[in-house]
């Protein structure tokens, strides 16, 4: 029972992390998994000019 619960919690935690990461990145305009937003393939939203 305990190993099952631990495994379920671990899987759920990782899945939650992945979902939150995706949502936060999507809000910044990054839709792919690969980059941190500074590469050519996807960039964060345009910054306003000062």
């Amino acid at each position: 029972m305990i190993p099952t619960v631990i495994l379920i919690l671990l899987i759920a935690a990782w899945a939650a992390f992945v979902i939150i990461r995706k949502v936060r990145r999507a809000r910044r305009g990054i839709y792919c998994d690969c980059c941190d937003g500074s590469c050519d393939c996807c960039r964060p939203k345009k910054e306003k000019e000062e």
């Binding site: 099952t4 899945a15 839709y31």
Partner: protein, 682 residues
């Protein structure tokens, strides 16, 4: 002025130069992580700013777009010119490729004419040395009247000397003594003041205009530059400073020729052991950019790439499969030993490990593909491909530059769609975004590898390669149809640099491939991981709870509705439909799904493939169905990341939905055609 200069806390330096001269590498060498990326107001041209400190002086560095000249034909040129002329820039660093001096000096001369302080950073000096050439820097400084600092952005040499020169030449009046050896005409005094002095007739016109400007626009700075631009028929200058009484004949082509004459003079004097444009490059280009043979050669090279992907990649894949099998058995054993429940074991082993692990075994094929693409890119060949395809692009109503984003689509559709930003015309951008998803991205490769190896034996490589050819063909066909339906078509010219061929740098290739491997692993651990869990759930549960037969699950219920629709395409199997639907998350998930759907742990192993082809064969799924499925995967809806990018770049949900609908329809029609025709033949 000098007091103001010294008092200013921040010195603003703009980096400008031709594309591929190493400007951004040099800029990054100074700024490192201290940079901000944005867009110039109102345009899609990128603006990079960074900070740097040297000898107690703060610098604000601006990386301007790569341009060949300072006319105002393109958005990049206009943006660069506006920036340099404004108060935003105190000193210009002209980054020039020392190995292609002739081409780079044109911009240099235009920058010098601007009248602002210019320092030349002569980059890629290491390549010059490799070719046995030498550049007389001292003479070059005398002829151009500006400091010339040798640097190597890649090796990070000369960086401090460059900033030292910038710091000490920020006053425009502090110029180098100019010394020419050519004959001077009537305007001898000008030769002491300006690097480039035009012929007497042109100089007279310049002087005349300068007098007019002095009367008309007394606040104008750098009247000479404005006069030069006026004579070149520069619309921006003529619009801003109209001179009604003055109707000049355009001296543009004469002035361009005289600039190039001067450049020849500089090259003749400063370049020692001058390397006439590499004969080797010319010989190779005669074949690779041949009017007729260029395209077949490109297809042949891509065929070779895929042959390598299948042979070398498969050999390495065997080791990954073995490792996965060991891992899967190990986890299964461990879970059993600790008394973990059946459900959690099923989720972990049949869901996550089968799904994610199945994808990871294709890593060798992906690595080989990207190594090949990196070699082609770094050698200089990819520029030739864009050039070769330019003529074809033009015939189908696309700008020649549209093939460059399409080419990126062989790697990933997301950056390919992003790259369509380089096209200035909005219609071109939308058309390119519309067809780019047809270019088969690397995420689809596992699907092709799996199906072709299962059903096509020794023809597996050809079957997979044909997907890339079909994708290219469909992109061209759809573009042609769209262009015929469009009312207006404008001709575009392609200006593209063809760098000299060089031996690919192993370090560059390693960095490129390692980035792709990291992307792949990240995707496996995130999107594919999530998709595997969702899929496992949908396949093992229905409204009543856990099911013993997947055919009664949620996923099966949804998919069975679509079976009659997909039957004409040869894909009327609920399991295949579930796999295709799951591929919208990421194309690799099609393979993961099949692994989960058919309960095959190590799907890419010989045993796994035998089990899967047995399961498929028992329901009448043959090689013809497999080929139809490959075509469907090639052409149908792109992944979520691509859809989101299309929506953002086009600014329209309607356009994104239209792209989805068009692709789904195309996939259905083509799969149905191929399936039905092939079924008659085989």
């Amino acid at each position: 002025m000098e007091n103001n200069e010294t008092e200013r806390r921040e010195l603003r330096v703009a980096f400008i130069g031709n594309p591929n001269c190493g400007k951004t590498t040099l800029f990054n060498a100074y700024t490192g992580a201290n940079l901000k990326v944005a867009n110039w107001p109102g345009v899609t041209v990128e603006k990079k700013e960074g900070s740097y400190k040297f000898q107690g002086q703060e610098f604000k560095l601006i990386d301007l777009p790569g341009i060949y000249s300072l006319t105002s034909y393109t958005m990049e040129e206009r943006v660069s010119r506006m920036c340099i002329l404004s108060d935003e820039v105190d000193v210009i660093v002209d980054v020039a490729d020392a190995s292609a001096l002739e081409r780079n000096l044109y911009l240099t001369l235009q920058l010098i004419e601007l009248g602002k302080p210019v320092v030349m950073a002569l980059n890629m000096m290491d390549i010059v040395e490799e070719r046995g050439m030498e550049i007389d820097l001292h003479r070059m400084q005398e002829m151009l009247g500006i400091p010339v600092i040798p640097v190597s952005a890649r090796k990070k040499t000369g960086l401090e000397q460059l900033m030292h020169a910038v710091l000490h030449h920020r006053d425009a009046s502090a110029r180098h003594r100019i010394e020419h050896h050519h004959k001077v005409g009537e305007n001898a005094q000008l030769h002491a003041e300006y690097a480039l002095v035009y012929s007497d007739g042109i100089e007279e016109e310049i002087a005349r205009l300068e007098n007019v400007f002095e009367d008309r626009y007394p606040d104008m700075t750098n009247r000479r530059w404005h006069a030069i631009k006026y004579l070149e028929n520069d619309s921006d200058v003529m619009g801003e400073f109209p001179v009604e009484s003055f109707d000049p004949e355009s001296f543009e082509s004469r002035m361009i020729n005289e600039k190039y004459d001067f450049i020849e003079e500089v090259i003749a004097e400063v370049l020692v052991n001058r390397d006439e444009k590499s004969a080797m490059t010319d010989r190779i280009d005669r074949v690779l950019t041949h009017r007729i043979w260029g395209v077949p050669v490109f297809l042949g090279i891509m065929a070779l790439v895929f042959a390598l992907t299948f042979t070398v990649g498969d050999w390495l894949k065997g080791y990954f499969e073995a490792a996965l099998e060991v891992f899967s058995d190990g986890v299964s054993g461990l879970l059993s030993a600790v008394g973990a429940g059946e459900l959690i074991t099923s989720l972990l082993v049949d869901g996550i490990i089968a799904g994610v692990g199945g994808i990871l075994t294709f890593l060798p094929n992906i690595v080989i593909l990207f190594i090949a693409l990196a070699v082609l890119e770094d050698s200089g060949y990819m520029s030739r491909v864009a050039y070769v395809m330019d003529g074809l692009m033009g015939k189908i109503g696309l700008s020649g530059r549209a093939f460059i984003p399409m080419l990126l689509g062989f790697g990933c559709t997301v950056p390919a769609v992003m790259a369509s930003r380089a096209l200035e015309d909005k219609r071109d951008r939308l058309r390119t975004m519309f067809v780019t998803p047809f270019m088969s991205c690397s995420a689809r490769l596992p699907v092709y590898v799996l199906l072709s190896q299962m059903f096509f034996g020794k023809w597996a490589g050809i079957a997979a390669f044909s997907m890339y050819v079909i994708g290219l063909f469909m992109a061209i066909l759809v573009a042609l149809i769209v262009s015929k339906c469009s009312k207006k078509y404008e001709e575009h010219t392609l200006l593209i640099e063809l760098p000299e061929y060089k031996t690919p740098n192993p370090h560059t290739i390693f960095i490129y491939v390692w980035d792709k491997v990291k992307d792949y692993l990240t995707k496996a651990g995130t999107t594919i991981f999530l998709a595997s869990i969702v899929l496992w759930f949908l396949l093992n549960f229905n409204q009543h709870g856990l099911v013993s037969d997947m055919g009664e699950s949620f996923a099966a219920g949804i998919a069975k509705f679509l079976v009659p629709v997909m039957k004409p395409t040869g894909l009327g199997y609920w399991q295949i439909i579930v796999a295709l639907i799951s591929g919208i998350a990421a194309k690799e998930v099609v393979v993961s799904s099949m692994s989960v759907l058919y309960g095959v742990a190590n799907i890419s192993s010989a045993e796994g493939m035998a089990a899967l082809s047995g399961a498929l064969g028992s329901v009448g799924f043959t090689a013809v169905n497999a080929y139809a499925m490959m075509i469907f995967v090639l052409l149908y809806i792109p992944c979520v990341a691509t859809l989101a990018t299309i929506k953002r770049e086009s600014g329209s949900v309607k356009f994104m939905l239209g792209t989805m609908a068009m692709q789904l329809l195309t996939a259905w029609i083509m799969s149905a055609l191929v399936f039905n025709i092939a079924s008659l033949i085989f």
